[in-house]
Assembly symmetry: C2
Homo-oligomer: 647 residues x 2
Amino acid sequence: MTALDHDTGTTVLRRKPTIQPARSWQSWLIGRPLSTADAPHQTIGKAIGLAVFASDALSSTAYATQEILVILVVAGTAALGYALPIALAIVGLLAIVTISYQQTIHAYPGGGGAYIVARDNLGELPAQTAGAALLTDYVLTVAVSVSSGVAQLVSAYPSLSTNRVAIAVGMVFLIMIVNLRGVRESGRAFAIPTYFFLLMMVLTLGTGLVRAVSGTLGSVIDPPALEFGETLLAVTPFLILHAFSSGTTALTGVEAISNGIPAFKEPRSRNAAITLIWMSVILGTLFLGITFLAGEIHALPSEGETVISQLARTVFDSRGTLYLMLIAATTIILIMAANTSFADFPRLSALVARDGFLPRQFTYRGSRLVFSRGIVALALLASLLILIFQARVTALIPLYAIGVFLSFTLSQAGMARRWWKIGHLQSGQEAQERGSTLRYTPNWQLKMLINGFGAVCTAVVTLVFTFTKFREGAWVVIISAPALVLIFLAIHHHYRDLAKNLSVEDYGPPPQVRRHRVILPISGVHRGTLDALRYATSLSDDVTAVHVSIDPEEAERVRLKWETWGEGVRLVILDSPYRLFVEPLISYIEEVMAQRQNHDTVTIVVPQFVSRRRWHNLLHTQTALFLRLALMFRPGIVITDVPYHVE
Amino acid sequence: MTALDHDTGTTVLRRKPTIQPARSWQSWLIGRPLSTADAPHQTIGKAIGLAVFASDALSSTAYATQEILVILVVAGTAALGYALPIALAIVGLLAIVTISYQQTIHAYPGGGGAYIVARDNLGELPAQTAGAALLTDYVLTVAVSVSSGVAQLVSAYPSLSTNRVAIAVGMVFLIMIVNLRGVRESGRAFAIPTYFFLLMMVLTLGTGLVRAVSGTLGSVIDPPALEFGETLLAVTPFLILHAFSSGTTALTGVEAISNGIPAFKEPRSRNAAITLIWMSVILGTLFLGITFLAGEIHALPSEGETVISQLARTVFDSRGTLYLMLIAATTIILIMAANTSFADFPRLSALVARDGFLPRQFTYRGSRLVFSRGIVALALLASLLILIFQARVTALIPLYAIGVFLSFTLSQAGMARRWWKIGHLQSGQEAQERGSTLRYTPNWQLKMLINGFGAVCTAVVTLVFTFTKFREGAWVVIISAPALVLIFLAIHHHYRDLAKNLSVEDYGPPPQVRRHRVILPISGVHRGTLDALRYATSLSDDVTAVHVSIDPEEAERVRLKWETWGEGVRLVILDSPYRLFVEPLISYIEEVMAQRQNHDTVTIVVPQFVSRRRWHNLLHTQTALFLRLALMFRPGIVITDVPYHVE
């Protein structure tokens, strides 16, 4: 122990305990506890950064094309030709978002997620809306990615079909455990599967394009059966917008890099910005390639076999090694996309919790230095979604992406507002905000225009999405997102009130305790009771023992024994005709409380039986416990447990 | 309030609270709470007594014949002819047991169950064995009776077959709720169905006998398919004994009257004894009649259709009204037999608990004056058995009845011992035992012989039962009964030790508390902490505040604030590199405990956050709760919760 401070008259001692945390089944499952000092501080370059942050975005190519086809196919197979123009429009949107985010990355070198940008520039409500939208979407990312990963597996091994829900939930829990152990985003573990996926995709699309140009690429053999009724709908603008909305899921995950800027090597912003451009180019290319080839081979959307699987077995002419390698790579990258949410969700929920809008518990780092509670919460919510939607990607899609586009909109709008604020600074002047520093920039009008255009585009997509998908499930998000925001605000309200109530500002010197009134509930007279009595009399001269009488003979025995052993302390016997114990006692305590004078403190001294063998506790009524539960919610009562231990 | 006693210098006040118990969902389900003074004190005559106590015994005729046939049929349908001689032997055994129990009823007018008789005459171990055997059998009675009742229903309505387990468990819970409401054994509710069953049985058997004698009774039309493989076994003595064992289930419930003597009108013993004879005569007649007619119509044992159902539709030539009435009557009496166990099990478990061999909680009467915990325990255990054995009577039978016969044996052996004790009294001398009064009786040798013979017969049956049914399931009882007895003894050991430890005999004047050492764990400095500090300083001058530091900045803030607000109290900051809270605190407390001097009391004053809105508690870490759980099992530490309430 080292004394830190004597000069103010208060002794402060500081010590470093030498105890090691105990080993338990948890340390077997998730590894030995880590000390706070073990937190990693490493940064990554562009190539690794691409691998770490791109899996979420790139993996969406595994289902985006298929989801466009699912919508178009209700207008007949001829309508599938609209897929490619729609994909081109989506890639255009991707370009706008990418350019817009370039500016965010440079403005927020400390990390510019939608929550932070909205908080600093738009205020509390938009920030919490962005937070709610993003948290919802992280849960959906896990559910969609894992479900799609299982769909790839089922395409290759159709016999797994009956267990798809169980496999999906099992995967979620596996990812949870890996994340509870603490994934170091060290890169190499991420780089191999990401680049393997890229390689396989380039190989598949390249072969496919060459064969398409040379005219040797045929149609899918034995395409999956179409699952809709044969009443064809017309191709309407609504249908096209609907298909467009479904396809925009390809853009999910683009925001990942802007959250993770601090992980990059210096110059962080520059490296992150270049990586984002690379990622967008690759994403756009893959998405267009898949959509084009899917049209060439006349792939059909199906729950039984994914479009990727149809494409691969047509390009490679069989379900051979290359086919299986592509399916494996796709499955792995989808699972890694889910894994990305396991990094993002806990980090964002900790951020929101630190601001006081989610329970504080989300800010605690577990034994492996990760935000364990956020990880567990995400796994439970995603599993629930998978169970409800039976691991069907198409059923989940209408809920998905709306949150992403809402957060894009809020983020870009926040950036536009930031440029406007910057434009009103003096040249050379600086202003510090929570997430970034504002510095005057000459061509701020152009930059504001870019972000404003991004905001408008993504806002339009959000609205289109809401209208076209409303009946299919988007209404769930329309209801749940505001509900979440309200919950966040209620939590914040509580913490703020609490802080105000507890604040020591304006707190006068506390009044001293003048008198203790002690109540000692006893069920019988024995050594345990007498120990408690001894403790009670050491607190105060004003002690009242109370016996609740269910059996008159027992009450008489207590009375006689108390006259011998009660040290003259007053005994009150409460008759309880309904054989209740806690209720008569509480009504008595309330009477005493009503009569007390100022600065009297009422203390209930409860003799508490405790045995070292836990099963012994089953043999006792645990009245003390019930009494505590009943009294806990009444103000002004101090409860003291005096244990009596029996070997 | 009325003062009772002032002369010893101790004030004792007694008061009758006027509070009524609160209404809750439970009072909707089981009725409004009853005052202890509402306990019923009514007695019943012979006719009602027969109805109340006979349902258990009579209902066993619904399955006893069938269970004999199930065993015999493996030797081919020809072997079914042995059923009638076996039934005659069982009726002979019934006569012996009845005569033997006549003496018990006269000796124990206050109730002569096997547990009481064994306790008074054979000692602790046989008494607990009888208790364990009976409690086991009460659970099995519920499982067997309800399963058989459902089997009758399924015979009449085969489409219910797939839901038999759910129906059975539902019935158990219905009976549980009725019993939690408190069944007044007022008789009429019992008399109608019992006499309805008797009437229907007499009608069916009478018609059957008349038709059999007149030769118009044919065989069963479309008998159920035999369910065993076609490899016939030979008729061996083992097979006959096996069938006999199964048939002895007919005797279960015969002991019910000896438990319930106090319910009879005076002269209680005489009325109870006559009722027992009547019951045995009826039981024997029904059993023989059913077995004889089952042979005449060539009924076959089956899970799909009961023998009773085959008999009724053959006698009445159709599944008409009379058939349905008999099936209904049989189902109802089976359910009432289960209901009998719901009276017996809680009563016996309360008796055993009062003697200290089961948890005390079993002796408490619930809001409706019944032993609620025993009722709930019985329902849960019986449901578990029904689930495990899928409501199949034949699967449950090997476990059943062994407990009944063991308790018959112990009860009769106890009675024999009692006559021996009586024989050694002086003429005219009386001796008081816990359950009865011993008076010299001249022809005690004859009476001892009768009970002794009964004991030997039932002991032989118990052994036969064990050997013939061992592999089928009796081994479960052979293992579980001694295990139960060991548990009873362990519980008794604990209560006895506790009483000795807590006894105030040889307890010197308790040493006064010399000095309080107070430890005050704080997470921050706020009004809640300061309230707790104020309370702590009112207990003692030796107060130490302890802050477990996870975040160094937070610790520094606490230190600065404490210097202002800590009233000069010593503050210890414990660094916690593994972000644990409770463990470093406990290791510190243990150090303090090790250094304390004699008669020092260590008190932990815990500031406990409490909100009136329960959901708010989710937003706090409840450290106080975890601390309490961790400290509860350490001797010598008093824990005081000082609540800080926030609106």
